[in-house]
Symmetry: C2
Subunit: 286 residues, 2 copies
Protein backbone atom coordinates (compact mmCIF):
# COMPACT_ATOMS: atom_id res chain seq x y z
CA UNK A 1 0.00 0.00 0.00
CA UNK A 2 1.22 3.53 -0.73
CA UNK A 3 0.94 6.36 1.78
CA UNK A 4 -2.44 8.11 2.04
CA UNK A 5 -1.02 11.44 0.93
CA UNK A 6 0.41 9.83 -2.21
CA UNK A 7 -2.91 8.17 -3.05
CA UNK A 8 -4.80 11.40 -2.43
CA UNK A 9 -2.35 13.39 -4.57
CA UNK A 10 -2.80 10.91 -7.42
CA UNK A 11 -6.59 11.12 -7.15
CA UNK A 12 -6.53 14.92 -7.19
CA UNK A 13 -4.12 14.95 -10.13
CA UNK A 14 -6.26 12.52 -12.11
CA UNK A 15 -9.72 13.93 -11.40
CA UNK A 16 -9.32 17.34 -9.79
CA UNK A 17 -10.47 18.59 -6.39
CA UNK A 18 -14.10 17.43 -6.38
CA UNK A 19 -15.16 15.18 -3.50
CA UNK A 20 -18.67 13.74 -3.73
CA UNK A 21 -20.48 13.75 -0.40
CA UNK A 22 -22.65 10.68 0.17
CA UNK A 23 -25.35 12.16 2.40
CA UNK A 24 -28.50 10.03 2.29
CA UNK A 25 -30.86 12.54 3.91
CA UNK A 26 -34.39 11.32 4.32
CA UNK A 27 -35.74 13.81 1.76
CA UNK A 28 -33.14 12.70 -0.80
CA UNK A 29 -34.02 9.05 -0.29
CA UNK A 30 -37.62 9.96 -1.09
CA UNK A 31 -36.64 12.04 -4.13
CA UNK A 32 -34.53 9.14 -5.39
CA UNK A 33 -37.43 6.73 -4.90
CA UNK A 34 -35.64 4.48 -2.42
CA UNK A 35 -36.83 3.36 0.99
CA UNK A 36 -36.13 5.37 4.12
CA UNK A 37 -34.34 2.40 5.67
CA UNK A 38 -30.96 0.71 5.91
CA UNK A 39 -31.66 -0.93 2.53
CA UNK A 40 -32.43 2.51 1.12
CA UNK A 41 -29.19 4.13 2.29
CA UNK A 42 -27.26 1.14 0.94
CA UNK A 43 -28.89 1.47 -2.48
CA UNK A 44 -28.43 5.25 -2.49
CA UNK A 45 -24.79 4.97 -1.46
CA UNK A 46 -23.97 2.31 -4.03
CA UNK A 47 -25.55 4.34 -6.83
CA UNK A 48 -23.52 7.42 -5.87
CA UNK A 49 -20.35 5.32 -5.82
CA UNK A 50 -21.12 3.95 -9.28
CA UNK A 51 -21.72 7.45 -10.62
CA UNK A 52 -18.57 8.84 -9.01
CA UNK A 53 -16.36 6.02 -10.26
CA UNK A 54 -14.07 7.34 -13.01
CA UNK A 55 -15.55 10.85 -12.75
CA UNK A 56 -14.26 12.03 -9.34
CA UNK A 57 -11.34 10.96 -7.21
CA UNK A 58 -12.78 11.20 -3.72
CA UNK A 59 -16.06 10.36 -1.96
CA UNK A 60 -17.13 11.23 1.56
CA UNK A 61 -19.94 9.18 3.14
CA UNK A 62 -21.56 11.00 6.06
CA UNK A 63 -21.70 8.38 8.82
CA UNK A 64 -24.64 9.93 10.71
CA UNK A 65 -27.09 9.09 7.93
CA UNK A 66 -26.13 5.42 8.17
CA UNK A 67 -25.81 5.32 11.97
CA UNK A 68 -29.40 6.53 12.10
CA UNK A 69 -30.44 2.96 11.18
CA UNK A 70 -28.27 1.28 13.83
CA UNK A 71 -26.34 -1.89 13.06
CA UNK A 72 -28.29 -2.40 9.82
CA UNK A 73 -27.25 1.07 8.73
CA UNK A 74 -23.64 0.27 9.57
CA UNK A 75 -23.85 -2.92 7.52
CA UNK A 76 -25.06 -0.74 4.62
CA UNK A 77 -22.17 1.65 5.19
CA UNK A 78 -19.71 -1.26 5.14
CA UNK A 79 -20.99 -2.20 1.68
CA UNK A 80 -20.74 1.38 0.46
CA UNK A 81 -17.20 1.81 1.83
CA UNK A 82 -16.13 -1.47 0.30
CA UNK A 83 -17.65 -0.68 -3.11
CA UNK A 84 -16.04 2.77 -3.14
CA UNK A 85 -12.60 1.45 -2.25
CA UNK A 86 -13.02 -1.35 -4.75
CA UNK A 87 -13.77 1.25 -7.44
CA UNK A 88 -10.46 2.96 -6.68
CA UNK A 89 -12.02 6.01 -5.06
CA UNK A 90 -10.31 7.64 -2.08
CA UNK A 91 -12.85 7.26 0.72
CA UNK A 92 -13.12 9.72 3.60
CA UNK A 93 -15.50 8.52 6.33
CA UNK A 94 -17.07 11.69 7.71
CA UNK A 95 -17.48 10.53 11.31
CA UNK A 96 -16.03 13.47 13.29
CA UNK A 97 -14.93 11.14 16.07
CA UNK A 98 -12.97 12.53 18.97
CA UNK A 99 -12.05 11.05 22.35
CA UNK A 100 -8.93 10.26 24.35
CA UNK A 101 -6.43 7.44 24.84
CA UNK A 102 -7.52 3.88 24.35
CA UNK A 103 -11.00 5.03 23.34
CA UNK A 104 -9.50 6.66 20.27
CA UNK A 105 -7.69 3.39 19.61
CA UNK A 106 -11.15 1.84 19.23
CA UNK A 107 -12.10 4.40 16.59
CA UNK A 108 -8.75 3.96 14.81
CA UNK A 109 -9.31 0.20 14.76
CA UNK A 110 -12.76 0.75 13.28
CA UNK A 111 -11.94 3.19 10.46
CA UNK A 112 -8.21 3.07 9.78
CA UNK A 113 -7.24 -0.60 9.93
CA UNK A 114 -6.91 -2.91 6.95
CA UNK A 115 -9.51 -5.66 7.06
CA UNK A 116 -11.86 -3.83 9.43
CA UNK A 117 -15.43 -3.97 8.12
CA UNK A 118 -15.56 -0.15 8.29
CA UNK A 119 -12.17 0.34 6.64
CA UNK A 120 -11.89 3.72 4.91
CA UNK A 121 -8.90 5.60 3.51
CA UNK A 122 -9.31 8.44 6.00
CA UNK A 123 -11.65 9.60 8.73
CA UNK A 124 -12.64 13.03 10.01
CA UNK A 125 -11.78 13.78 13.64
CA UNK A 126 -12.97 16.36 16.16
CA UNK A 127 -10.40 18.01 18.47
CA UNK A 128 -12.53 19.36 21.36
CA UNK A 129 -10.42 17.27 23.76
CA UNK A 130 -7.29 18.86 22.30
CA UNK A 131 -5.75 18.00 18.93
CA UNK A 132 -2.83 16.53 20.86
CA UNK A 133 -5.20 13.91 22.31
CA UNK A 134 -5.41 12.54 18.73
CA UNK A 135 -1.64 11.98 18.52
CA UNK A 136 -1.75 8.18 18.88
CA UNK A 137 -4.57 7.95 16.33
CA UNK A 138 -2.59 9.96 13.79
CA UNK A 139 0.43 7.75 14.37
CA UNK A 140 -1.75 4.69 13.79
CA UNK A 141 -3.07 6.25 10.59
CA UNK A 142 0.43 6.80 9.22
CA UNK A 143 1.54 3.32 10.18
CA UNK A 144 -1.40 1.82 8.27
CA UNK A 145 -1.05 4.15 5.23
CA UNK A 146 -4.30 5.81 6.22
CA UNK A 147 -5.21 9.46 6.66
CA UNK A 148 -7.24 11.80 8.84
CA UNK A 149 -8.79 15.24 8.56
CA UNK A 150 -9.03 17.14 11.83
CA UNK A 151 -11.72 19.81 12.20
CA UNK A 152 -10.09 23.24 12.31
CA UNK A 153 -12.45 25.97 11.07
CA UNK A 154 -15.97 25.42 9.80
CA UNK A 155 -18.31 27.81 8.06
CA UNK A 156 -21.42 27.41 10.23
CA UNK A 157 -21.91 30.69 12.14
CA UNK A 158 -22.24 29.01 15.56
CA UNK A 159 -18.66 27.77 15.27
CA UNK A 160 -16.87 31.10 15.12
CA UNK A 161 -16.80 31.97 18.84
CA UNK A 162 -15.08 28.70 19.76
CA UNK A 163 -12.77 28.33 16.77
CA UNK A 164 -11.56 31.95 16.97
CA UNK A 165 -11.07 31.92 20.77
CA UNK A 166 -7.57 32.91 21.89
CA UNK A 167 -5.41 30.29 23.52
CA UNK A 168 -3.89 31.57 26.75
CA UNK A 169 -0.41 30.15 26.72
CA UNK A 170 2.19 32.08 28.64
CA UNK A 171 5.01 29.93 27.31
CA UNK A 172 4.10 30.56 23.66
CA UNK A 173 3.64 34.25 24.36
CA UNK A 174 1.16 34.82 21.57
CA UNK A 175 -2.57 34.87 21.02
CA UNK A 176 -3.07 32.01 18.62
CA UNK A 177 -6.63 30.95 17.92
CA UNK A 178 -8.09 27.53 18.63
CA UNK A 179 -8.15 26.75 14.89
CA UNK A 180 -4.51 27.81 14.51
CA UNK A 181 -3.56 25.71 17.52
CA UNK A 182 -5.20 22.67 15.92
CA UNK A 183 -3.21 23.29 12.71
CA UNK A 184 0.03 23.56 14.73
CA UNK A 185 -0.76 20.52 16.86
CA UNK A 186 -1.03 18.26 13.83
CA UNK A 187 1.86 19.76 11.81
CA UNK A 188 4.40 17.28 13.24
CA UNK A 189 2.75 14.36 11.40
CA UNK A 190 3.19 15.83 7.97
CA UNK A 191 6.63 17.20 8.78
CA UNK A 192 8.17 14.14 10.38
CA UNK A 193 7.81 11.63 7.56
CA UNK A 194 9.10 11.66 4.04
CA UNK A 195 6.18 12.11 1.70
CA UNK A 196 8.26 13.30 -1.21
CA UNK A 197 6.11 14.36 -4.10
CA UNK A 198 2.88 13.65 -2.26
CA UNK A 199 0.82 15.17 0.50
CA UNK A 200 1.08 14.51 4.21
CA UNK A 201 -1.35 11.98 5.69
CA UNK A 202 -3.12 14.34 8.08
CA UNK A 203 -5.21 17.22 6.88
CA UNK A 204 -7.52 19.87 8.23
CA UNK A 205 -11.19 20.54 7.69
CA UNK A 206 -11.51 24.18 6.67
CA UNK A 207 -14.86 25.42 5.37
CA UNK A 208 -14.69 27.08 1.96
CA UNK A 209 -16.42 30.25 3.13
CA UNK A 210 -14.52 30.60 6.43
CA UNK A 211 -12.85 33.97 7.08
CA UNK A 212 -9.41 32.41 7.39
CA UNK A 213 -7.75 35.57 8.62
CA UNK A 214 -10.26 35.92 11.46
CA UNK A 215 -9.60 32.39 12.70
CA UNK A 216 -5.85 32.68 12.22
CA UNK A 217 -5.44 30.19 9.36
CA UNK A 218 -2.84 31.80 7.11
CA UNK A 219 -1.53 30.07 3.98
CA UNK A 220 1.49 29.20 6.12
CA UNK A 221 -0.69 27.40 8.69
CA UNK A 222 -2.16 25.25 5.90
CA UNK A 223 1.19 24.30 4.38
CA UNK A 224 1.73 20.59 3.75
CA UNK A 225 -1.63 19.41 5.01
CA UNK A 226 -4.39 18.33 2.66
CA UNK A 227 -7.47 20.51 3.17
CA UNK A 228 -10.97 19.04 3.21
CA UNK A 229 -13.23 21.96 2.34
CA UNK A 230 -16.97 21.58 2.73
CA UNK A 231 -19.05 24.56 1.71
CA UNK A 232 -18.88 24.31 -2.06
CA UNK A 233 -22.00 23.95 -4.17
CA UNK A 234 -25.34 24.42 -2.40
CA UNK A 235 -23.53 25.69 0.69
CA UNK A 236 -22.24 28.81 -1.05
CA UNK A 237 -18.81 28.69 -2.70
CA UNK A 238 -18.43 28.17 -6.45
CA UNK A 239 -15.72 26.04 -8.09
CA UNK A 240 -14.21 29.12 -9.75
CA UNK A 241 -13.68 30.66 -6.28
CA UNK A 242 -11.28 27.90 -5.23
CA UNK A 243 -7.98 29.61 -6.19
CA UNK A 244 -8.96 32.91 -4.55
CA UNK A 245 -10.32 31.24 -1.41
CA UNK A 246 -7.34 29.01 -0.72
CA UNK A 247 -4.39 30.80 -2.31
CA UNK A 248 -1.22 28.76 -2.16
CA UNK A 249 -3.15 25.87 -0.57
CA UNK A 250 -5.61 25.54 -3.48
CA UNK A 251 -3.61 22.74 -5.10
CA UNK A 252 -4.24 20.46 -2.15
CA UNK A 253 -7.88 21.23 -1.45
CA UNK A 254 -10.46 18.46 -1.53
CA UNK A 255 -13.64 20.38 -2.41
CA UNK A 256 -16.67 18.63 -1.03
CA UNK A 257 -20.15 18.97 -2.52
CA UNK A 258 -23.22 17.03 -1.52
CA UNK A 259 -26.63 18.54 -2.13
CA UNK A 260 -25.64 20.27 -5.38
CA UNK A 261 -24.74 16.86 -6.80
CA UNK A 262 -27.20 14.53 -5.10
CA UNK A 263 -30.16 16.71 -6.07
CA UNK A 264 -29.57 15.67 -9.69
CA UNK A 265 -31.30 12.40 -8.87
CA UNK A 266 -30.26 8.89 -9.88
CA UNK A 267 -30.73 9.44 -13.63
CA UNK A 268 -28.58 12.54 -13.86
CA UNK A 269 -26.03 12.26 -11.09
CA UNK A 270 -23.23 10.83 -13.25
CA UNK A 271 -23.50 13.75 -15.68
CA UNK A 272 -23.69 16.22 -12.79
CA UNK A 273 -20.53 14.81 -11.21
CA UNK A 274 -18.65 14.98 -14.53
CA UNK A 275 -19.78 18.57 -15.05
CA UNK A 276 -18.91 19.77 -11.53
CA UNK A 277 -15.54 17.97 -11.59
CA UNK A 278 -14.64 19.76 -14.83
CA UNK A 279 -15.49 23.16 -13.31
CA UNK A 280 -12.92 22.61 -10.53
CA UNK A 281 -10.26 21.45 -12.97
CA UNK A 282 -10.88 24.53 -15.09
CA UNK A 283 -10.60 26.75 -12.03
CA UNK A 284 -7.19 25.32 -11.16
CA UNK A 285 -5.97 25.58 -14.76
CA UNK A 286 -7.19 29.17 -15.08
CA UNK B 1 -42.48 8.62 29.58
CA UNK B 2 -41.20 11.05 32.21
CA UNK B 3 -38.60 13.70 31.43
CA UNK B 4 -34.95 12.60 31.36
CA UNK B 5 -34.02 14.89 34.25
CA UNK B 6 -36.76 13.37 36.39
CA UNK B 7 -35.63 9.82 35.61
CA UNK B 8 -32.00 10.73 36.28
CA UNK B 9 -32.89 12.43 39.59
CA UNK B 10 -34.80 9.32 40.68
CA UNK B 11 -31.87 7.07 39.77
CA UNK B 12 -29.39 9.26 41.68
CA UNK B 13 -31.74 9.42 44.70
CA UNK B 14 -32.19 5.65 44.75
CA UNK B 15 -28.62 4.52 44.12
CA UNK B 16 -26.33 7.53 44.52
CA UNK B 17 -23.97 9.15 41.99
CA UNK B 18 -22.11 6.09 40.66
CA UNK B 19 -22.24 5.52 36.91
CA UNK B 20 -20.69 2.28 35.69
CA UNK B 21 -18.68 2.73 32.49
CA UNK B 22 -19.02 -0.19 30.06
CA UNK B 23 -15.62 -0.02 28.34
CA UNK B 24 -14.77 -3.36 26.75
CA UNK B 25 -11.09 -2.70 26.12
CA UNK B 26 -9.24 -5.52 24.45
CA UNK B 27 -7.15 -6.25 27.56
CA UNK B 28 -10.29 -6.41 29.72
CA UNK B 29 -11.96 -8.84 27.32
CA UNK B 30 -8.92 -11.08 27.70
CA UNK B 31 -8.90 -10.73 31.49
CA UNK B 32 -12.58 -11.62 31.58
CA UNK B 33 -11.98 -14.67 29.39
CA UNK B 34 -14.23 -13.57 26.55
CA UNK B 35 -13.41 -13.31 22.85
CA UNK B 36 -11.95 -10.17 21.34
CA UNK B 37 -14.88 -9.92 18.94
CA UNK B 38 -18.39 -8.54 18.60
CA UNK B 39 -19.66 -11.58 20.50
CA UNK B 40 -17.12 -10.81 23.22
CA UNK B 41 -18.16 -7.19 23.70
CA UNK B 42 -21.81 -8.28 23.78
CA UNK B 43 -21.11 -10.85 26.51
CA UNK B 44 -18.96 -8.40 28.46
CA UNK B 45 -21.56 -5.64 28.20
CA UNK B 46 -24.44 -7.88 29.23
CA UNK B 47 -22.53 -9.12 32.28
CA UNK B 48 -21.78 -5.57 33.41
CA UNK B 49 -25.44 -4.65 32.97
CA UNK B 50 -26.50 -7.63 35.06
CA UNK B 51 -24.05 -6.70 37.81
CA UNK B 52 -25.08 -3.03 37.79
CA UNK B 53 -28.78 -3.79 37.91
CA UNK B 54 -30.13 -2.89 41.36
CA UNK B 55 -26.70 -1.73 42.54
CA UNK B 56 -26.16 1.46 40.51
CA UNK B 57 -28.53 3.84 38.78
CA UNK B 58 -26.62 4.72 35.64
CA UNK B 59 -24.44 2.95 33.07
CA UNK B 60 -22.37 4.45 30.28
CA UNK B 61 -21.35 2.22 27.38
CA UNK B 62 -18.37 3.61 25.45
CA UNK B 63 -19.43 3.38 21.80
CA UNK B 64 -15.89 3.25 20.35
CA UNK B 65 -15.25 -0.21 21.80
CA UNK B 66 -18.32 -1.56 19.99
CA UNK B 67 -17.81 0.48 16.80
CA UNK B 68 -14.41 -1.15 16.53
CA UNK B 69 -16.21 -4.31 15.34
CA UNK B 70 -18.33 -2.54 12.73
CA UNK B 71 -21.97 -3.46 12.20
CA UNK B 72 -21.56 -6.61 14.30
CA UNK B 73 -20.25 -4.49 17.15
CA UNK B 74 -23.22 -2.15 16.78
CA UNK B 75 -25.59 -5.13 16.92
CA UNK B 76 -23.89 -6.10 20.20
CA UNK B 77 -24.27 -2.56 21.48
CA UNK B 78 -27.96 -2.62 20.60
CA UNK B 79 -28.39 -5.69 22.79
CA UNK B 80 -26.46 -4.08 25.65
CA UNK B 81 -28.46 -0.83 25.43
CA UNK B 82 -31.71 -2.74 25.33
CA UNK B 83 -30.79 -4.96 28.30
CA UNK B 84 -29.69 -1.96 30.35
CA UNK B 85 -32.86 0.00 29.65
CA UNK B 86 -34.92 -3.10 30.31
CA UNK B 87 -33.21 -3.42 33.71
CA UNK B 88 -34.33 0.11 34.58
CA UNK B 89 -30.86 1.60 34.37
CA UNK B 90 -30.42 5.12 33.01
CA UNK B 91 -28.25 4.60 29.92
CA UNK B 92 -25.84 7.24 28.64
CA UNK B 93 -24.33 6.33 25.26
CA UNK B 94 -20.82 7.78 25.31
CA UNK B 95 -20.56 8.61 21.62
CA UNK B 96 -19.26 12.22 21.69
CA UNK B 97 -21.03 12.96 18.40
CA UNK B 98 -20.92 16.48 17.04
CA UNK B 99 -21.87 17.90 13.66
CA UNK B 100 -24.24 20.48 12.20
CA UNK B 101 -27.80 20.75 10.92
CA UNK B 102 -29.47 17.76 9.36
CA UNK B 103 -26.39 15.63 10.05
CA UNK B 104 -27.03 16.04 13.77
CA UNK B 105 -30.64 15.05 13.10
CA UNK B 106 -29.24 11.70 11.95
CA UNK B 107 -27.41 11.24 15.25
CA UNK B 108 -30.48 12.32 17.22
CA UNK B 109 -32.57 9.79 15.30
CA UNK B 110 -30.01 7.10 16.12
CA UNK B 111 -29.58 7.65 19.86
CA UNK B 112 -32.49 9.72 21.14
CA UNK B 113 -35.56 8.32 19.42
CA UNK B 114 -37.95 5.76 20.89
CA UNK B 115 -37.86 2.54 18.92
CA UNK B 116 -34.47 3.20 17.31
CA UNK B 117 -32.25 0.13 17.62
CA UNK B 118 -29.60 2.29 19.32
CA UNK B 119 -32.08 4.01 21.66
CA UNK B 120 -30.41 5.27 24.85
CA UNK B 121 -31.62 7.63 27.56
CA UNK B 122 -28.94 10.19 26.77
CA UNK B 123 -25.92 10.65 24.54
CA UNK B 124 -22.68 12.60 24.94
CA UNK B 125 -22.07 15.36 22.40
CA UNK B 126 -18.97 17.28 21.30
CA UNK B 127 -19.27 21.05 20.68
CA UNK B 128 -16.27 21.84 18.45
CA UNK B 129 -18.68 23.20 15.82
CA UNK B 130 -20.20 25.46 18.49
CA UNK B 131 -22.56 24.33 21.23
CA UNK B 132 -25.25 26.36 19.49
CA UNK B 133 -24.96 24.02 16.50
CA UNK B 134 -26.44 21.35 18.79
CA UNK B 135 -29.59 23.40 19.47
CA UNK B 136 -31.94 21.34 17.28
CA UNK B 137 -30.57 18.11 18.76
CA UNK B 138 -31.21 19.31 22.30
CA UNK B 139 -34.74 20.32 21.33
CA UNK B 140 -35.28 16.85 19.89
CA UNK B 141 -33.95 15.31 23.10
CA UNK B 142 -36.41 17.27 25.24
CA UNK B 143 -39.33 16.46 22.94
CA UNK B 144 -38.56 12.75 23.22
CA UNK B 145 -37.92 12.82 27.00
CA UNK B 146 -34.26 12.12 26.32
CA UNK B 147 -31.10 13.79 27.56
CA UNK B 148 -27.65 14.87 26.43
CA UNK B 149 -24.31 15.67 28.03
CA UNK B 150 -22.21 18.20 26.15
CA UNK B 151 -18.42 18.14 26.60
CA UNK B 152 -17.33 21.22 28.54
CA UNK B 153 -14.08 20.60 30.44
CA UNK B 154 -12.15 17.35 30.52
CA UNK B 155 -9.25 16.32 32.68
CA UNK B 156 -6.81 15.11 30.02
CA UNK B 157 -3.90 17.56 29.90
CA UNK B 158 -4.06 18.09 26.12
CA UNK B 159 -7.53 19.61 26.49
CA UNK B 160 -6.68 22.61 28.62
CA UNK B 161 -5.39 24.98 25.91
CA UNK B 162 -8.59 24.69 23.88
CA UNK B 163 -11.12 24.54 26.71
CA UNK B 164 -9.57 27.50 28.56
CA UNK B 165 -9.15 29.66 25.43
CA UNK B 166 -10.81 33.08 25.69
CA UNK B 167 -13.76 33.82 23.47
CA UNK B 168 -13.35 37.15 21.69
CA UNK B 169 -16.82 38.61 21.74
CA UNK B 170 -17.02 42.36 21.63
CA UNK B 171 -20.76 42.36 22.27
CA UNK B 172 -20.44 40.32 25.46
CA UNK B 173 -17.53 42.45 26.59
CA UNK B 174 -15.94 39.77 28.70
CA UNK B 175 -13.32 37.07 28.41
CA UNK B 176 -15.32 33.92 28.94
CA UNK B 177 -13.58 30.64 28.27
CA UNK B 178 -14.64 28.08 25.69
CA UNK B 179 -15.88 25.76 28.47
CA UNK B 180 -17.91 28.57 30.06
CA UNK B 181 -19.35 29.50 26.68
CA UNK B 182 -20.50 25.89 26.20
CA UNK B 183 -22.18 25.99 29.61
CA UNK B 184 -23.94 29.26 28.73
CA UNK B 185 -24.94 28.05 25.28
CA UNK B 186 -26.85 25.09 26.67
CA UNK B 187 -28.37 26.86 29.69
CA UNK B 188 -31.54 27.82 27.80
CA UNK B 189 -32.66 24.18 27.58
CA UNK B 190 -32.72 23.62 31.28
CA UNK B 191 -34.13 27.07 31.99
CA UNK B 192 -36.93 27.14 29.44
CA UNK B 193 -38.91 24.10 30.52
CA UNK B 194 -40.54 23.28 33.80
CA UNK B 195 -38.61 20.44 35.37
CA UNK B 196 -39.92 21.06 38.85
CA UNK B 197 -38.30 18.81 41.37
CA UNK B 198 -36.04 17.18 38.82
CA UNK B 199 -32.97 18.03 36.82
CA UNK B 200 -32.86 19.62 33.40
CA UNK B 201 -32.44 17.32 30.38
CA UNK B 202 -29.11 18.66 29.17
CA UNK B 203 -25.96 18.34 31.16
CA UNK B 204 -22.26 18.98 30.85
CA UNK B 205 -19.27 16.68 30.89
CA UNK B 206 -16.84 18.04 33.49
CA UNK B 207 -13.87 15.92 34.49
CA UNK B 208 -13.60 15.29 38.24
CA UNK B 209 -10.02 16.54 38.44
CA UNK B 210 -10.49 19.60 36.21
CA UNK B 211 -9.35 22.94 37.66
CA UNK B 212 -12.80 24.47 37.34
CA UNK B 213 -11.66 27.98 38.20
CA UNK B 214 -9.02 27.91 35.45
CA UNK B 215 -11.58 26.95 32.80
CA UNK B 216 -14.23 29.35 34.12
CA UNK B 217 -16.73 26.79 35.40
CA UNK B 218 -18.01 28.32 38.62
CA UNK B 219 -20.74 26.68 40.69
CA UNK B 220 -23.06 29.21 39.08
CA UNK B 221 -22.13 28.01 35.56
CA UNK B 222 -23.05 24.45 36.57
CA UNK B 223 -26.42 25.37 38.10
CA UNK B 224 -29.39 23.32 36.90
CA UNK B 225 -27.49 21.04 34.56
CA UNK B 226 -26.68 17.45 35.45
CA UNK B 227 -22.91 16.89 35.48
CA UNK B 228 -21.33 13.78 33.99
CA UNK B 229 -17.96 13.52 35.70
CA UNK B 230 -15.41 11.04 34.42
CA UNK B 231 -12.17 10.85 36.31
CA UNK B 232 -13.23 8.98 39.43
CA UNK B 233 -11.64 5.67 40.39
CA UNK B 234 -8.56 4.62 38.46
CA UNK B 235 -8.39 8.04 36.81
CA UNK B 236 -7.63 9.84 40.08
CA UNK B 237 -10.53 11.23 42.12
CA UNK B 238 -11.92 9.33 45.12
CA UNK B 239 -15.61 9.11 46.00
CA UNK B 240 -15.02 11.04 49.24
CA UNK B 241 -13.67 13.96 47.18
CA UNK B 242 -17.01 14.50 45.42
CA UNK B 243 -18.47 17.16 47.75
CA UNK B 244 -15.25 19.20 47.79
CA UNK B 245 -14.72 18.90 44.03
CA UNK B 246 -18.20 19.94 42.96
CA UNK B 247 -19.49 22.12 45.80
CA UNK B 248 -23.10 23.12 45.32
CA UNK B 249 -23.29 20.98 42.15
CA UNK B 250 -22.31 17.73 43.96
CA UNK B 251 -25.94 16.66 44.36
CA UNK B 252 -26.38 16.38 40.62
CA UNK B 253 -23.09 14.78 39.65
CA UNK B 254 -23.05 11.46 37.82
CA UNK B 255 -19.68 10.03 38.87
CA UNK B 256 -18.34 7.71 36.21
CA UNK B 257 -15.91 4.88 36.94
CA UNK B 258 -14.76 2.25 34.50
CA UNK B 259 -11.42 0.54 35.04
CA UNK B 260 -11.68 0.59 38.85
CA UNK B 261 -14.87 -1.45 38.57
CA UNK B 262 -14.28 -3.57 35.47
CA UNK B 263 -10.89 -4.74 36.76
CA UNK B 264 -12.75 -6.72 39.45
CA UNK B 265 -13.48 -9.33 36.79
CA UNK B 266 -16.75 -11.15 36.14
CA UNK B 267 -16.81 -12.97 39.48
CA UNK B 268 -16.39 -9.89 41.65
CA UNK B 269 -17.85 -7.03 39.68
CA UNK B 270 -21.26 -7.04 41.39
CA UNK B 271 -19.64 -6.75 44.83
CA UNK B 272 -17.28 -4.05 43.55
CA UNK B 273 -20.18 -2.00 42.15
CA UNK B 274 -22.09 -2.29 45.43
CA UNK B 275 -19.03 -1.25 47.41
CA UNK B 276 -18.15 1.74 45.19
CA UNK B 277 -21.78 2.90 45.06
CA UNK B 278 -21.92 2.93 48.87
CA UNK B 279 -18.74 5.05 49.08
CA UNK B 280 -20.39 7.78 47.00
CA UNK B 281 -23.61 7.68 49.03
CA UNK B 282 -21.55 7.99 52.23
CA UNK B 283 -19.66 10.94 50.76
CA UNK B 284 -22.89 12.80 50.01
CA UNK B 285 -24.36 11.98 53.47
CA UNK B 286 -21.15 13.05 55.25
Amino acid sequence: MTAFGTRLRAALDAHGPLCVGIDPHEHLLTEWGVDVSAAGVREFGLRVVEAASGRAGVVKPQVAFFERFGSAGFAALEDVLSAARGAGLVVIADAKRGDIGTTMDGYAAAWLTAGSPLEADAVTLSPYLGADSLRATLTTAVRHDKGAFVLAATSNPEAFALQSAQVVDVAAGDGQTVAERVARDIAWVNGSAAFAGGLGPVGLVVGATVDRAAVGLSDEALRGAPILAPGFGAQGAAPEDLPALFGAAASHVVASESRSILSAGPADIAARIAERAELYREALRG
